[in-house]
């Protein structure tokens, strides 16, 4: 990138990139469009402030940022609403478990719900790009884990998993509660 970019130019570059992307953009990717050593965080903050009162707002979603229309303007778009297929209860609950307990294994999901995860459930959530594979768990068998994505956060208007209410409460209830039949 040219080194001649001043603060305002850099803001404009980020702005233009955000305005022309329907998906959230990784901050690390955005940084590639700026000179090295630039404090992108301060640019994001400035832009966030600027758009706070406007018709589109700048949102943080995990490690990404995105421009989205202000929520209070949803009435303007009523006509645009597309009837979305609703997810099964199993898929909704599985999603909630991943969000609250990530990284979480399939077995853990099954333990919480008390039923096996039907085939297709994980597939659907993967296709939506709301969950992805995480690191393998350091437990016997080293099972794969699932975690939520920036896209999930974006979709549900969350800026980080910490925005979920009652995470601590749920963690206190424990994840690895032993199975009853071990007694």
């Amino acid at each position: 990138m040219e080194l001649s970019l001043n603060q305002q130019d850099m803001e404009r570059v980020i702005e233009a990139l955000l305005f022309t992307s329907s998906e959230p953009l990784l901050i690390t990717d955005l940084k590639k469009n700026l000179p090295q050593n630039v404090d992108i965080e301060s640019i994001i903050e400035t832009l966030q402030k600027h758009y706070e009162t406007r018709g589109v707002n700048l949102k943080r979603v995990g490690n990404s940022i995105a421009l989205r229309t202000a929520k209070d303007l949803d009435h303007v778009f009523v006509k645009k609403m597309v009837a979305k297929k609703t997810l099964s209860r199993a898929a909704r609950e599985t999603l909630a478990i991943v969000a609250y307990h990530q990284p979480v294994t399939k077995l853990e999901i099954e333990e919480i719900r008390g039923v096996s995860v039907g085939s297709g459930t994980i597939d659907i959530l993967m296709d939506l790009e709301w969950i992805k594979f995480g690191r393998r768990k350091l437990s016997p068998g080293r099972p794969v884990t699932f975690q939520i994505t920036d896209k999930f956060l974006d979709y549900f208007d969350l800026s980080s998993p910490e925005d979920l209410p009652g995470v601590k409460e749920l963690k206190d209830l424990g994840l690895s509660v032993k199975k009853l039949n071990r007694y």
Binding site: S21, V56, R68, D74, L95, S119, L170, L180
Partner: protein, 258 residues
């Protein structure tokens, strides 16, 4: 079974029993517990156990019991639990019963909580419903380039496809992880044959590691074992100047060290 289960029949469908709309025994128990209208921590397990068993009895003809193992396991636990609650003659057993009671209550609380959270999540403002993304990405001045869109799932599915097609498990990790002893010995043999000078142990390890890509310490272990074998055969002799110094090997010819 729902359609998606049917769809994947050939891939060993996960056991999925829907009992009159209930998704598993925990789901049924939770519903029954909620009817008690008490704090889940203060469950009336006796009553709950009766309700659960009654329910199963009612449903007896509506589903095949042999498919409902989970429900039966739960039923037997509840029965045991209840019997121990009624006749707590043995202190130890009473403790067990309390523990099971507590665990069950905990699991129900957790499921109840996750359910609340799932509802909370889907009640939130949602993209394409309450707020919208940009559609401005069709600017004509933008220089167009091909953009590759591949998801990890595509790659994984491709792999499952190959394995399915061949109808056998492709052995994982064809990459050699271990230096087998016979290979180690033949390597040593080859090195000794081509060299009249002393050969150092580390150099052998280094070379086979570089050649095979097998972890260095595994190479060291195999080469060491190979050297012991080879020495036993009387083909070489091993020398070490002092403790912890470098191990060297020499060819033995006509009973004499070269």
């Amino acid at each position: 079974m729902d359609q998606s289960t049917e769809y994947h029949k050939d891939i060993k469908p996960a056991l999925y029993v829907s009992l009159d709309g209930f998704e598993g025994p925990l789901d049924l128990l939770l519903t029954l517990a909620k009817n008690q209208k008490v704090d889940l921590k203060k469950l009336q397990l006796g009553i709950l156990a009766d309700q659960f068993l009654d329910y199963l009895r009612d449903q007896r003809y509506k589903f095949k019991l042999e498919f409902a193992g989970d429900y039966l396991v739960m039923a037997s636990w509840l029965t045991l639990l209840k019997s121990q609650l009624i006749i707590p003659d043995d202190e130890l057993k009473k403790e067990d019963a309390d523990k099971i009671n507590e665990l069950l209550a905990l699991r129900l609380q957790r499921l109840a909580k996750i359910r609340e959270n799932a509802i909370w999540l889907f009640d939130r403002p949602q993209l394409f419903r309450n707020f919208f993304p940009s559609s401005l990405n069709r600017d004509e001045r933008v220089i167009k380039e091909d953009f590759l869109k591949v998801q990890l799932a595509d790659i994984l599915k491709a792999y499952v496809g190959i394995v399915d097609k061949k109808n056998y498990e492709v052995p994982m990790g064809t990459k050699e992880e271990y230096l087998f002893l016979d290979k180690a010995i033949s390597f040593i043999e080859q090195k000794v044959k081509g060299s009249e000078a002393l050969i150092s142990f580390p150099s052998l390890v280094k070379e086979i590691h570089a050649l095979s890509g097998i972890e260095a310490k595994r190479c060291a272990a195999s080469i060491f074992c190979g050297l012991l074998e080879y020495t036993k055969l009387g083909k070489i002799q091993m020398k070490q100047g002092s403790a912890f110094s470098i191990l060297e090997l020499a060819k033995v010819r006509n009973g004499n060290t070269v």
